[in-house]
Symmetry: C2
Amino acid sequence: MKHMFNHIAIAGLGLIGGSLARDIRRLGLAATITGFGRSPERLKKALEMGIIDAWHTDYSQGIAQADLIIVGTPVSLITQQILEMLPHVKQGAVITDVGSVKTAIIEQVEPMMPQGVFFIGGHPIAGTENSGFESSVDGLFEHRACVLTPTEKTDPHALKKLENFWKAVGANIVCMDIKTHDMIFAGISHLPHIVAFSLVNALTDMENFEKQILQYSAGGFRDFTRIAASDPVMWRDIALMNKDHILNAIGFFEKSLGSLKQSIADGNTSEIEQFFKKSHDTRRAI
Amino acid sequence: MKHMFNHIAIAGLGLIGGSLARDIRRLGLAATITGFGRSPERLKKALEMGIIDAWHTDYSQGIAQADLIIVGTPVSLITQQILEMLPHVKQGAVITDVGSVKTAIIEQVEPMMPQGVFFIGGHPIAGTENSGFESSVDGLFEHRACVLTPTEKTDPHALKKLENFWKAVGANIVCMDIKTHDMIFAGISHLPHIVAFSLVNALTDMENFEKQILQYSAGGFRDFTRIAASDPVMWRDIALMNKDHILNAIGFFEKSLGSLKQSIADGNTSEIEQFFKKSHDTRRAI
């Protein structure tokens, strides 16, 4: 059987890394899959399940054979993991990541790439409020977008290989530059999470708030608490790593909320209706 | 067959009124169901479907026989509808509503009740982002909370009747005073909607925002746009009718978001993590 890659290495078998290992095995995209991580227990489990063929907790072994290396660790560790593995990586290897912030990673990683080793940033839009290997599933990326962020230094052949890989697991490829990525995701992903966390905290700060009142909430608030159930450490790191774009997005949001607040305080019926109608129409336009 | 009520009238056959008519018929809670509304077309359709037995567009006929009258019109019309029907309502009748704001309605309606006619405010927590008769379904209230807001003037016998009615359609009764109701729902329902509308508008205000980027959004933002798809006119009226509690809730939210924004601007890792962890823990506690 002809595989797309002879050997794929995955560093970090969480939701994304674990789901990718399942798909690579299921679809026969590599002859060999090697897992890297800090937890031997999780790696052993993946080995027993047959979705990886070998595992290591450091890069002195096993990474040297990899043709494609996917870094699926928590976003704050990606840069460090790549720098650690570089001395062991072979010529021609393609390295990618799956972090939801791109500029902070790529600006540090790209200048360190040895000649003939190729790094391309990636961000599959397939996260859920769950995380970890135990949440990994087959087919997580089917019909989901996967953003790739090539730069002017990116090797076109390496990019093609990576695109074919993501297409093989069912993703729709979207290419954009790193700053556009971080600006867009500050708005459509980071800001909604920050707002959801803030809303849940605001309610718990309100006088007379008791947790049992949450049982009365249909729709609206439950969606927010679900979003706010996302991993606090992951979101802390995203907030720090995409700080400027996030602060900018919060600024836009504060302005938007502030104008509505003023219209409500003024009892301005038509302004309030126009405001609500505008977002209603945006939804319909999607 | 012994019915719970001889005659039930429903003013406004929208999502809630229409679903109640379906349940009353299906469960045999009344011998006769009369519908009132502005749209003969909708009322005719309900008649053809057999979920009402008669309909009228004004209260000069049909309301006089009703033992239980449920006002399911848009929230801004409830007070006016009740005042219009009062001259025709019989002694012993129980009137209730389903509006998501209570103080503004009850303070106007309660003092106008004739001797021997009983008003009790109600709020079934069963809304969705859809509205209208075409969205009405069987069993909408099963296992959902229904808040009733008796006052010190409320007749205990009338309250008991109304409680039994809501229990019969499967709801869990929660009684609270009107100000507590409006304070709690400003927080867990009105604020999340206002925040969702504001977030969607903030994004459309951002530079370089193009609607097609919304395709990249997994989870988070899609939930917001779904909430922001709710009826703009209904939310305008809620914002106006529960103004003080909503402005107070927005204030708590702005303070919460502002403190997170400051922590991010300061790059304060532990403050950010604590903030996210707090809402994460609230969710787990529910």
